[in-house]
């Protein structure tokens, strides 16, 4: 599919090998998802920390970013 290089001025970059991406994707992917979890769902449906502090602090962002809230 990528062989249809009609314009030689735009160089199609070589694909990065999956083996090189996977360690980053697993570790940092999980870390990034954890960040999204704290903004979107912590102390809502489920909680890592007790109380309401995180939920109340990111309350407006949670609503406006489209996550379900109270």
């Amino acid at each position: 599919m990528a062989q249809t290089a009609a314009q030689p001025s735009v160089a199609t970059p070589a694909a990065l090998p999956v083996k090189a991406i996977l360690p980053w994707a697993v570790f940092f992917g999980a870390l990034m998802l954890l960040a999204l979890f704290f903004v979107g769902a912590e102390q809502g449906a489920t909680a890592i920390f007790a109380g309401e502090g995180v939920h109340e602090w990111v309350h407006d962002g949670r609503h406006l970013l489209g996550f379900p809230c109270h």
Binding site: M1, A2, T4, A5, A6, V10, A11, T12, P13, A14, A15, L16, P17, V18, A20, I21, P23, W24, A25, F28, G29, L31, M32, L33, A35, L36, F38, V39, G40, A41, G44, A45, T46, E52, G53, E56, W57, V58, H59, D60, G61, R62, H63, L64, L65, G66, F67, P68, C69, H70
Partner: protein, 254 residues
């Protein structure tokens, strides 16, 4: 070398996500806060169990909002950069910037617009606090389904391209995605909890601003990350262009 490239892309993705988050924060503050305030005013007028405030409204609508939007921006930027590492050179004859633009458009649609059309963003006081678990599960299920279907559609499109050509294969993949999303919409339960007298204009304003926040975030990310990724992946070409644009800046003596 290649592994280091992925790490550098990831770092650039998080930076681009932070910058896009700052733009989105502006939209959230100026467009999103008024209907949020209106929802809270409705809530206050209709409930009598007013407890002590843990976080003041002034903090929630400024530093709290900023924390939420910026952390979200960095997180999304990181995830999008990892997805970009997979997409680069695999989705067709696109350069670094075009790949970033396409990925951002796909991300906006798959990660936000498709789930939003089934389970839209709601201002405070619209939902029943007792159903938060079901609503969260359904929303996350819809996001995961949508992203998986979008990735499948890209793979289907790639497979079809050798037989049908790029255009027809893309249309076919798009049709597959729309059909599959339609089926998911049909089988997942609807959530209808809005109080009958809740002002419709507030809901409309809130949802349009929620959509504007995400559009700003993804567009900002795509444009900034595209530039950063191109500089990383094709350094010589970009260097020439910068040199050509600012001849005075790089020539100390003339």
């Amino acid at each position: 070398m290649n592994s280091a490239t992925v790490g550098k892309l990831l770092a650039r993705g998080m930076v681009a996500g932070l910058l896009a988050g700052l733009l989105a924060l502006g939209v959230a503050y100026f467009l999103g806060e008024p209907p949020t305030e209106a929802g809270i005013a409705y809530e206050a007028a209709h409930s009598h169990e007013e407890g002590a405030e843990l976080v003041s409204r002034a903090a929630q609508s400024t530093t709290g909002l900023a924390t939420g939007v910026l952390v979200y921006g960095v997180g999304l930027g990181g995830i999008a950069a990892l997805a970009y590492s997979f997409a680069l050179g695999r989705i067709g004859a696109f350069g670094p910037r075009a790949t970033a633009a396409l990925l951002s458009l796909g991300g906006l649609i798959a990660f936000y617009v498709v789930p939003f059309l089934k389970y839209p963003a709601n201002p405070p006081a619209v939902s029943d606090p007792a159903t938060i678990s079901q609503r969260t599960t359904l929303y996350l299920l819809m996001v995961v389904l949508s992203v998986l279907l979008a990735v499948s559609a890209v793979i289907v499109g790639k497979r079809l391209a050798s037989r049908l050509g790029n255009w027809n294969a893309s249309v076919g993949a798009g049709a597959f995605f729309v059909l599959a999303v339609g089926l998911a919409y049909a089988f997942l339960p609807a959530v209808t909890e809005m109080p009958k007298d809740f002002p419709a204009s507030v809901v409309w304003q809130f949802r349009v601003s929620a959509l504007a926040i995400q559009a700003t975030l993804w567009a900002g990310f795509g444009l900034v990350f595209g530039i950063l990724a191109e500089r990383l992946l094709q350094p010589r070409e970009s260097g020439e262009r910068i040199g050509a644009m600012e001849p005075g800046a790089v020539a100390p003596s003339s």
